[in-house]
């Protein structure tokens, strides 16, 4: 289980990016984090990944506090970030350097086949399309079999058609080993099609605003009325999160604290 305990982040330049974010995420859950720009969603993801340390609170995975990148946590960025000097196969095997060559080759071949790029094994990253490159990035992150996979707006640079394709593909891959997925996005459609729970954040400072459970069976029909219904709920929450007149659900406790000071 992944527990986020009052995670906060203030950057050295004084920007208060994230304030006391708490959540408990079960193994195998798919969480979408959505919110306006500057709501600290990427900051939160980087704290979970151990790339940036939280300045307060803690990220706890199976009783271990995460302060630096962890073997059980993988991440996929907005850009594929493939290493241009390695072939596609070597990129996918990048995290497997400790394994014997034979095992590594098998795992790479299996992963390549799984993402449908077996014929590109010896291609250079520059020869791939955007969608193909992101597939390789997904394979690279999944091949060490992480318990938690973080995705930072992974499909936002792709065209609408490729994006849908990769969303379905991601669900397909997820079903293999059922890791926890935590996905940062600004695409309501993407959040509703993928997530079990959507966490809506609000900016300045970034904090949790509302949690919406999407209890729709998979595969989800993007054109169904129920799907639209959930989309509307997320959109409404997003609008309210950006409306300054709407107070935080947790305002009371904050106010009490302020009074005490």
């Amino acid at each position: 289980m992944l527990a986020l305990k009052e995670v906060g982040k203030t950057y050295p330049n004084g920007v208060h990016a994230l304030e006391r974010f708490s959540a408990e995420i079960q193994l195998g859950e798919i969480i979408a984090i959505i919110g306006g720009s500057g709501c600290g969603k990427s900051t939160l993801l980087r704290a979970i990944a151990g790339l940036d340390r939280a300045t307060s609170g803690a990220v706890i995975l199976d009783n271990a506090v995460i302060t630096s990148p962890h073997a059980k946590i993988g991440i996929i960025f907005q850009e594929p970030r493939l290493l241009p000097w390695l072939t596609v196969a070597d990129n996918i095997g990048f995290g497997l350097a400790d394994l014997p060559a034979e095992v590594r080759r098998e795992r790479i071949a299996a992963a390549l086949a799984r993402v449908g790029l077996a014929d590109k094994a010896n291609a250079w990253p520059r020869e791939l399309s955007g969608g193909q490159a992101q597939r390789v990035a997904i394979a690279r992150a999944l091949v060490p079999q992480p318990e938690v996979l973080l995705l930072d707006e992974p499909f936002s640079a792709l065209d609408a058609f490729t994006r849908r394709d990769l969303q379905d593909h991601l669900l397909d891959l997820w079903a293999d080993t059922r890791p926890t997925l935590i996905l940062v996005t600004h695409d309501v459609d993407e959040a509703v099609v993928l997530a079990d729970r959507v966490l809506v954040m609000r900016p300045r400072p970034g904090r949790l605003f509302q949690e919406i459970t999407i209890n729709l069976a998979r595969p989800r029909d993007r054109k169904s009325e129920l799907f639209d219904n959930f989309k509307r709920r997320v959109l409404t929450a997003l609008d309210r999160s950006l409306d300054r007149a709407v107070r935080d659900p947790a305002d009371k406790s904050n106010a009490g604290e302020a009074m005490w000071w």
Binding site: G74, F77, W124
Partner: protein, 278 residues
């Protein structure tokens, strides 16, 4: 509109032809001027319009090279110069790479080291010559050190700049996969730095050839630079031109060696080699 269509269809074939033109004919175009000048001068001297004593015709220069070659003298001079460039280049590359890597990787060292190196770089390298001669004598050591100094700066700057400009996003990939310090250097930094390093090596080698001439003009009894000086003092312009031609050939050849040696390591690069044309 209807009038345009046949015209558009016709352009396909000439375009293929023009591709061939740009591939072979364009580089050849660069040869037209020097070859025409050489032939023209040859003709002028042949027809007796000039005696060609101060500006010898190409045939005379070629004759001089063959003559020097026959006596075995040319090999001796070339080997002497190659040895100096090789030794100086090696020294400069080693020092420049190590110090450049330290400065690029470790910001404390950069703050400590870089201002001094930059200040030294502002000194025209030839200004060291008298000091090197005093310290190291007139023979080989001072020459090799002078060449090494010339090679050092572009290598140092190239390595440092390349390390500093390695994409933070790529380094982060290394962090996500929990690479140790040495693994990060070997698997991320070295390959990322390699293209810029090759460029630095080529620039450094070019400076090495420049400085070997300066070093050999200081005072040498052999080497291509000595041939230059000897040609001047004894009034043999053909010998000077012969030495210059050989410098050009050797410089181009060694540069090509670096390029060819690096090419298999840089195959992944988008802009390398074949695509750089037009």
């Amino acid at each position: 509109m209807t009038v345009d269509l046949p015209v558009l269809e016709q352009t396909a074939a000439p375009r293929a032809a023009s591709a061939r033109w740009s591939r072979y004919a364009r580089p050849a175009l660069g040869l037209v001027l020097p070859v025409a000048c050489a032939l023209g001068w040859e003709l002028v001297v042949d027809l007796g319009y000039s005696n060609g004593r101060l500006v010898p015709p190409p045939s005379k220069v070629f004759e001089t090279i063959v003559e020097l070659g026959k006596s075995g003298e040319l090999t001796r001079h070339i080997l002497a110069t190659l040895w100096r460039v090789g030794a100086g280049f090696a020294l400069g590359v080693i020092a420049g790479t190590i110090l450049g890597a330290i400065s690029g990787y470790w910001s404390f060292a950069r703050r400590l080291l870089d201002p001094t190196v930059q200040a030294m770089r502002a000194i025209p390298s030839l200004a060291w010559v008298p000091l090197f001669v005093l310290w190291l004598g007139i023979f080989e050591t001072s020459k090799i050190v002078l060449i090494a100094v010339g090679v050092f700066f572009p290598i140092y700057l190239g390595v440092m700049g390349a390390i500093l400009s390695v994409d933070r996003k790529i380094v982060e990939v290394g962090r996500v996969f929990r690479l140790s310090g040495p693994a990060m250097i070997r698997r991320i930094l070295l390959p990322a730095v390699l293209p810029a390093y090759v460029v630095a090596l080529r620039v450094g080698l070019g400076l090495g050839w420049m400085f070997v001439v300066a070093a050999e003009l200081i005072g040498a009894s052999e080497g291509l630079g000595y041939l230059l000086l000897d040609g001047q003092q004894l009034g043999k312009p053909a010998q000077i031109l012969a030495a210059i031609v050989i410098f050009a050939i050797l410089g181009k050849l060694t540069d090509w060696l670096i390029e060819a040696a690096a090419a298999p390591l840089l195959r992944w690069q988008d802009a390398f080699g074949a695509r750089g044309g037009v």
